[in-house]
């Protein structure tokens, strides 16, 4: 009895400190990375998706409220802001290697950004999703920290937006190689840029794991998309609503 008692005490202590949430988040991501590597970087074995499924199932199983988990995991979450600022470095590197590519890149960015919003919002609306969901679709192709900031400013749920943004990133990272191969895209910088627009951060880490030039242009696309969307989406949102 006393042994069981002490296990409960340890559990209560651990689940009340940030340690548990930090540990399961990092461990789940490590497992995800390990699976990703052992499947020879198969896009279907996305480490972020694996980590989210593992952590979500685990906290459901131990009946830990999300708010308790987040109290601990917020230390990881906080770094999203710093990671967003650090996007300046790949953007700067990309900018200095543009070599007259700025016009096609800018046109691609505006096209991709508009196609993303118009298609997602209208398909969701047409299939009967409520306005809470369609609203959260607006910033879904923007990297999650910026998307959540935009969501707060247009008055939709930042969590739903984060879920859509992350799902978009994961699905985009999985689908991008097939789409780009089907279109016969050969240049690494063009492939990377399209991945960065469609699949932001998660697509970018995948692009980096395949080719450095693709990664640089993917982060350039993600960063530029984030900055332009932060200005444009609140305007577009109020225009359409």
């Amino acid at each position: 009895m006393s042994e069981q008692h002490s296990i409960v005490e340890i559990w209560v202590y651990l689940s009340g400190s940030p340690l548990f949430a930090l540990f399961i988040t990092l461990a789940a991501y490590q497992i995800g990375l390990w699976i990703y590597k052992s499947t020879k970087q198969n896009p279907l074995a996305n480490p972020v998706a694996i980590a989210i499924i593992l952590v979500a199932s685990l906290i459901q199983y131990v009946e830990m409220p999300y708010s308790t988990y987040f109290e601990g995991a917020q230390f990881i979450h906080f770094l999203l802001g710093s990671a967003t600022v650090s996007l300046a470095i790949p953007i700067y590197r990309g900018l200095s290697s543009l070599k007259g590519r700025s016009l096609p890149l800018l046109a691609s960015l505006v096209t991709g950004g508009l196609v993303s919003i118009i298609s997602a919002v209208n398909i969701a609306k047409w299939l009967g999703a409520d306005s809470g969901i369609t609203g959260a679709m607006y910033p879904k192709s923007v990297t999650a920290p910026i998307a959540m900031g935009i969501a707060e400013r247009i008055g939709v749920s930042p969590t739903l937006t984060a879920i859509f943004a992350v799902t978009t990133g994961i699905l985009g990272a999985i689908l991008a190689p097939f789409i780009l191969n089907a279109l016969g895209m050969k240049a690494w910088w063009q492939r990377g840029f399209a991945i960065g627009i469609g699949a932001h951060g998660i697509g970018t880490s995948r692009a980096f794991s395949i080719h450095p030039e693709a990664g640089t242009y993917a982060s350039l696309a993600m960063g530029m998309n984030g900055v332009i969307s932060a200005v444009a989406i609140p305007i577009l949102y109020h225009w359409f609503n």
Binding site: Y29, P47, V48, I52, A56, I59, Y66, Y69, F70, I76, L79, L80, S82, A83, T84, V85, L87, I89, P90, Y92, R101, L105, A107, T111, G112, V115, S119, A120, I123, A124, A129, G132, M137, A144, I146, L160, A162, I163, F164, T168, L171, L175, P177, I179, L180, N181, L183, M185, K186, A187, W188, A194, I195, G198, A199, I202, F208, G223, V227, A230
Partner: protein
């Protein structure tokens, strides 16, 4: 590494301050990002410490999304009720977004490059 983190946090704080008091329409980290790009352009270069921290972040960017995305547990009923709409909207939109960006950038590019592809 510490000096790199100090630089990032400094620009993040500047961004948050400007967002709070001057430009509430833009999220703080976005302003910090733009300021840091301007600073790098002015100084014409990235110092090694800053590059190291930034490369670390970009390598593990995915991990940082996990805490927010686990919030999916709060929205399971709403997501289930709208599952078809959400999945179709996201899937079709991703395909159209990547395809349209790729086509535009290729057809507006000055020279077709012959590099390898995966």
């Amino acid at each position: 590494m510490i000096s790199g983190l100090v630089q990032i946090l400094l620009f993040q704080s500047l961004g948050e301050l400007i967002s709070k008091f001057l430009l509430p329409t833009l999220p703080g980290p976005v302003i910090g990002l733009v300021l840091l790009i301007l600073w790098l352009v002015l100084r014409k270069g990235i110092n090694a410490e800053l590059a190291m921290v930034a490369d670390g972040f970009s390598q593990y960017f995915g991990l940082l999304f996990v805490p927010a995305a686990v919030g999916v547990v709060l929205f399971l009923p709403q997501l289930k009720a709208n599952a078809v709409a959400i999945v179709s909207a996201l899937l079709i939109s991703i395909i159209l977004t990547i395809a349209s960006s790729a086509v535009v950038v290729r057809f507006l590019s000055p020279k077709p490059t012959e590099e390898g592809h995966s």
